[in-house]
Each structure stands twice: as C-alpha cells, then as structure tokens.
C-alpha cells in the first residue's frame, strides 16, 4: 500500500485553504478585544512587599467556616486558577460553598534576590494564614497547594501543623528524582551556584525555555498551526491567546530561593530524605498529621504521577486520600472535565 495518497492538486488546495484560513484568522485576531484574565470578584486583604493576599467574594450566604488558602507556585502566575469565567477552579470552589483566599506572589525584582524558602514559607505563607485566622476568628485554615506551591504547603504543614485543618496538594512534586522526571534529569548537573551568583534573580525567560524544551516541536511549532484553525472562531482564539498570555507571563525567581529549591529539592531530593531545614527547623513530613488529599494528573509531564503519589509513604496522617485526574499538568485547571471533577472532589472531601 502506498503510504501517501495525496494528489498534487489536492496538496495545493490544502495549502490554499491554509492560506485563506490564515488570512481570515489574522483579520479576526486584529478585531479581538483585550485578553482579560482572573475575572472572579475579589478584594485585597493583606499586602507585604510584592505579595498580595486576595479573598474572593463568597457566592453563598454561609460559606464553609474554614476558608481555603490557595498557595500557587512561584513559577507562572496564579490567575491560572481563575483563567476565565468557564475555566476557573476558584469560581467552581466558590459555587460549591467554599471561602477562597489566594496568595499572589507578584513579580520579584532585584531587591527580593535574597528571599529564601524560609522567608516564603515561615514568613509570607505563615503571615497570610494568621491574617485569615484573625479575620475569621479561627485557629486553622484549609490549605490548597498547587505544583511548587504544593511543596511549599507540605513544608508549611510540617512546620506549623497547628494552623492547618486539612491539606490539599495538587500536581505536587514530593520525590524529585523519579526516573521519568525530565526536569530533574536536566537539573542534576547544573551549577546553580554560578547561575544565581551571576544572574541574581533567575529570569522567567530561562524557565520558559526549560518548559518549552520539554516538548519543543509541539509547543513551539505545531501549536501555532493548530491556532490557525482556532483563529476563525473568536471564542476559541481568545481562549488560545489567554493561555498564551499565561504561558509567557513568567515572573523572575528570587535568586536564593531558586538556589535552595534546585539544590535541596531537585539535586539532593531533600524533602523525602528529611534533609530540608527552614528557619532552623527540620521539615519532617511525619508532622503532617492532618487529613491530606493528594490530587495528581496521570499525563503530567512536569510532575510525573510517581513524583506525587509517593507522598502517602511519608506523611504522618492516616487520613490520606488520593485523586487521579486523567489529563496533564495544565489540563487539571482548564479542561472541561476538570471544571466539574476537581472542585467537586475537593468539596466532597472537605465535607
């Protein structure tokens, strides 16, 4: 059998069609209104340095009396959790009666170069949690940590268990050296000292390069051809551009935090070896005695499932639940299925 059945005139017609779609798409692109993100109503409740703590306006009269604080990663921006009206983890949690707070880390500059993991976890996160406790006159909050923010949440919960009612981790790396962890594989031989000493803060562009390099032909080539088809539909085009905005909206990383995170977590795998010390205290995952819900994505190429699910072997709690989501690292926030499954799983577990 001939592997190709493409007649020359058919090939030309296809290229003509592509060209026409491209022309129509460009026209559509130029007529689009601005790209808005994070539209769910919220108010600022606490600010410190570049950090802002938001509280989303509850959707119900009597929301859950224990609020959730979302701790997002330092990489990329937290509006991924509230990307657009019909793709919003935050909005769905609010609709299900949760009271939601979110930490926005802001964009660190050179004055933040010496921020350490201790500053982020024992400092910023702890003060945000205390702010919420004070506002609601409660002792504990529910913590939802996402990706690197999940790792931070684990450290926080291990160091301050008295402030955490229930812990939810989403696509969170715990074992940083599973064989299928490509990021870890690349990080092992990096001289992170010379990198931080040279650059100070690590530019977001460098991280973008790393992430795009994981699937370069799809993420920097094929994706844009797919976009030609999307561009003729205004809604699909806007969605694409919104995602594109998020992908390239990468804050610089505070230098010392980056140094610590790469060395102690990726290169030494210190979290599961009980080797992480923050503010003079050892991070022992056995101190996590509160109920834990661990959500991971089966197709996650950034945080492979095995890197997450190992958590059950290290936490001190007996109340450990796992939820797997069939999808990738991004799909877990924005796919249609995720909108229904993830907030429902969280709310049901919290109840």
């Amino acid at each position: 059998m001939l592997a190709f059945q493409i007649r020359p005139e058919q090939a030309m017609q296809e290229m003509l069609d592509f060209n026409q779609k491209l022309g129509d798409g460009i026209k559509n692109l130029m007529e689009l209104d601005g790209i808005n993100v994070g539209n769910t109503p919220k108010e600022i409740v606490y600010q410190e340095d570049k950090l802002t703590l938001y509280r989303y306006t509850p959707f119900v009269d009597k929301p859950n009396s224990t609020p959730i604080i979302i701790v997002y990663a330092l990489v990329n921006r937290p509006y991924m959790t509230d990307l657009q009206e019909d793709r919003s983890l935050v909005k769905n949690l609010l609709q299900q009666g949760q009271d939601v707070y979110l930490i926005d880390w802001g964009y660190p500059d050179q004055s933040d170069r010496y921020l350490t993991l201790d500053d982020y976890i024992n400092g910023y996160i702890h003060r945000c949690v205390k702010t919420i406790c004070k506002r609601h006159n409660i002792d504990k909050v529910n913590v939802l940590g996402i990706c690197q923010g999940g790792t931070f949440s684990l450290c926080y919960s291990a160091l301050h268990p008295e402030y955490v009612n229930k812990l939810i981790t989403m696509v969170t790396p715990v074992d940083f050296q599973t064989p299928d962890n490509l990021l870890s594989h690349w990080a092992q031989n990096l001289d992170v000292d010379v990198m931080v000493d040279t650059l100070g803060n690590i530019p977001g562009e460098l991280l973008n390069w790393t992430f795009l390099s994981m699937k370069p032909f799809r993420l920097t080539g094929q994706k844009y051809l797919d976009m030609v088809n999307s561009l003729t539909d205004t809604r699909a085009a806007t969605n694409f551009l919104r995602m594109e905005k998020w992908i390239f909206d990468s804050p610089d990383q505070a230098g010392e935090t980056f140094r610590q995170f790469i060395k102690e977590f990726y290169q030494q795998n210190g979290l599961i070896k009980n080797q992480i010390t923050l503010g003079g205290y050892r991070v022992d995952l056995k101190n996590i005695t509160m109920p834990v819900l661990n959500i991971y994505a089966t197709e996650d190429h950034l945080v492979p499932p095995d890197a997450s699910t190992v958590l059950k072997d290290y936490v001190g709690t007996k109340d450990y639940t796992e939820v797997s989501f069939k999808g990738g690292h991004i799909g877990i926030y924005v796919s249609g299925r995720a909108q229904k499954q993830i907030p429902t799983a969280i709310t049901e577990w919290l109840e």
């Binding site: 592997a3 190709f4 026409q20 601005g34 606490y46 490509l182 699937k215």
Partner: protein, 400 residues
C-alpha cells in the same frame, strides 16, 4: 483594535484565489525550482506558497496590536516553516511515488529516496545549511533565552558556524598564549580569561547544535518505519506534518533523557554563566574605577535590607512585638471612638450654642480638644511611617 476597513482582505483573498489557481500549471516548473534552490540559503522565500506568508507579514506586522505581536510573529514563522516543510515533502514524495510497490526491492528504493532527506539533515548537523529548520526549534528556543541573558542577541554567534572556525580559533589561541606584561598586566589577564570562557561557551554550543542534527536523522528513520508499517494511507499534508512532529518528539525524547544530553545541556548553561559572570566582574571593575555603584555593592545592600526585613518581622512576632501591635490596634480603635464622640458632642453644642449663655466656654473647650486632636493626628502619622510595608484590611462583614 484596528479598523477592518483599512485592511485589503477581500482584494487580497481574491488575488490569492487567482494566484493559487495558476499553481497547477506551475507545479512542474516549481519542482524544478525546488531542486535548483535547495543548494542556496533562504531559497524557500522564493517559492510561490511561501510568498503568500511573506505578504501577510509585510501587510500586518505594523498594524498588529503590541500585545499580539509576539503571537503574530510566531504564527507567521511557523506558517512559513509549514509551507517549507510541505515543499520539502512534495519533492520527496514525488520520488517515493515513483517507487513501484509491487517490485521486490521497493523497500530498498524507499530507503534510497529517504537518503536524500537524510543528506539535508547531515548538512544541518554540520552547520552548513538549515532548510529543514523545523528541527532547529529547540535551538531557536535556546537562542531566544540566551539573548535575554546577554547584552548580545542570542543568535549573535550563530553565523559563525558557517565560517571556517579554525581561523578564528587560531586568533583566539594566539590571544590566549600572549604573555601579559606591563602596567595593564592584570587587565590583559582578565581579557584572556574572558576570551577563554567565551571560547568554551562557543564550543559547548557547537556540540549542542551537532547533537540536534541527530534528532532530525532519527526522526526521519522513525518516520520511514512508520510509513512502511502504516495501515492507513496519509491523505493530507497536515497529516504528514503531524506524523513528522510525532516522530520529532519521540526522537527528541530519546535524546534528552540520556545522561549525555543532561551533561551537555548543563555544560552549555554553566559555560554561558561562567562567561557572563566574568563579564560582570570586569564591568564592576570599570564601574569601581569610575566611582560608580557596582553590582557587588548593590548585592550587599540588598542582602542587608533583606536581613533587616527579617529582623523587623521577627521583632513584630515576639511577645512584646505582638503586644505593641495589639496596643496599636486598640489605640486606633479608641481614637476612632473618641473622634466619633467629639463629632457628636460638637454637633450637639453647635445646636445649643444659640440658646446657651455658656457658649464661649464651650467653644474654648472645643478648641483645646481640636488642638489635642491635631497633636494626636501628628503622632499617629509619625507612628504609621515607622511601620513596615504591610497593610491589613479589615473584613467588610464581621460575620465572615
């Protein structure tokens, strides 16, 4: 957004229609062009189907809103690459189509046809020619990232791969072997060290580029195997492209998961950082000589500031600190209460002033209170200025 009436879309599309209608007639002629231009650089921009994309670029680049410029550029780049890919494929396909699949040795003939494509990749690997720039995407990403870290464009040294590097190496070697003597000896040594680090970075980059040439070759082999085993024929150019991407990703994944790649990737980044660090140190030396602030000094200031921020937070978190904080809150609440009482009292007095004979005494009392209030406000302002950059807003609803 741009007014659509400014854009000659209708004219453009109708012209395009006529233009593409002539393609059938041009096909034979064009394939000859393809064969002819494959030997020179940037030849694909001469082909009819890539010219269309060029038109779009010229017409819309300046009109595109700033926030969409990057996406637009990417779209144009990849559309052009797609057209180039199609051209390459059509050329290869013509040869493959000539293979008689009933012949006993048809698989060998296929292999022969694929050899020519492999030749293109070998040229890429040797840095001679990059018609199939699809497999340069990972390198392109690196050059873009590198350009953000350096004062030079990321691809500044890219063209050097096309020049006989041994001549350049000779110059560098000569520079490095020069004995540093005289009053500027240390500066010369620094320049030599900089040149050595730069050469090291270039060597790592060349090795990196060569390694990616292998991805193209491997992808081609994978594609050939998939086509030979295909159960369903591919009926669209896009189908071929998607298969190409799949094979590219598989070949790429095979490479980047190796220890060899992990080490080379790290060496590339480390070499660049070492060179950049040396460059920074030299700049610092110059700045110091000019009595201007250096990067090291700014780092020291930032380090001390961060330590002070920590100390302040630690003080605030101590028992005394928390007590002070609580007292501050209490004081603020009491002041607010006092203000409210005073306002209430003032209103009442103003109302009764007309009737009362003791108005003057009351006014005098009010003036004294106002003076006290002014003094209190001044104290409050001073106190709030001495507080750290921290704002805590009260909830709107006490029940929440």
């Amino acid at each position: 957004m741009t007014d659509k009436t400014d854009l000659p879309f209708e004219d453009w599309l109708s012209t395009q229609q006529q233009y593409f209608n002539t393609w059938s007639q041009m096909m034979q002629q064009t394939m000859q062009t393809v064969n002819a231009v494959n030997t020179k650089d940037n030849a694909f921009s001469d082909l009819p189907w890539t010219q269309g994309i060029e038109w779009y670029k010229k017409m819309f680049t300046s009109a595109m809103p700033d926030e969409l410029q990057t996406v637009f550029d990417k779209l144009m780049e990849q559309s052009q690459a797609y057209m180039q890919f199609n051209t390459q494929f059509i050329e290869a396909w013509q040869k493959l189509a000539q293979v008689d699949h009933k012949a006993e040795n048809w698989q060998h003939l296929w292999n022969d046809a694929f050899k020519e494509l492999r030749q293109s990749f070998t040229q890429v690997a040797q840095g001679q020619h990059a018609n199939l720039n699809f497999f340069e995407l990972p390198l392109d990403n690196w050059w873009r990232a590198a350009s953000t870290l350096s004062g030079l464009p990321g691809d500044f040294f890219q063209n050097m791969k096309q020049t006989p590097t041994h001549h350049f190496d000779e110059h560098i070697n000569r520079l490095l072997s020069m004995p540093s003597v005289g009053y500027t000896r240390e500066w010369q040594e620094q320049l030599q060290e900089g040149a050595r680090l730069w050469r090291n970075y270039q060597q790592e980059q060349q090795e990196y580029i060569s390694l990616f040439g292998k991805v193209g070759l491997r992808a081609l082999d994978l594609m050939r195997d998939k086509l030979l085993m295909a159960e369903q024929p591919i009926e669209t150019l896009r189908g071929v492209y998607d298969l190409w991407v799949d094979c590219g990703e598989v070949a790429y994944a095979e490479l980047v998961t190796t220890e060899e790649y992990s080490k080379l990737n790290a060496r590339l980044v480390n070499a660049m950082m070492a060179w950049k660090q040396h460059e920074q140190n030299m700049i610092d030396d110059v700045l110091g000589t000019l009595n201007m602030p250096t990067r090291k000094e700014l780092d020291s200031i930032n380090l001390r500031m961060q330590q002070m921020r920590r100390d302040i937070k630690a003080l605030q978190a101590t028992e005394n600190g928390m007590l002070v904080s609580e007292l501050q809150h209490e004081l603020t609440a009491l002041r607010a209460e006092l203000e409210a009482l005073k306002a209430k009292k003032t209103t009442r007095k103003t109302t009764t002033r007309r009737k009362s004979t003791t108005t003057k005494a009351a006014e005098s009392k009010t003036t004294t209170t106002a003076a006290q209030q002014k003094k209190t406000t001044a104290t409050k302002t001073t106190a709030s200025k001495s507080e750290p950059n921290k704002t805590e807003l009260k909830p709107k609803d006490d029940n929440q």
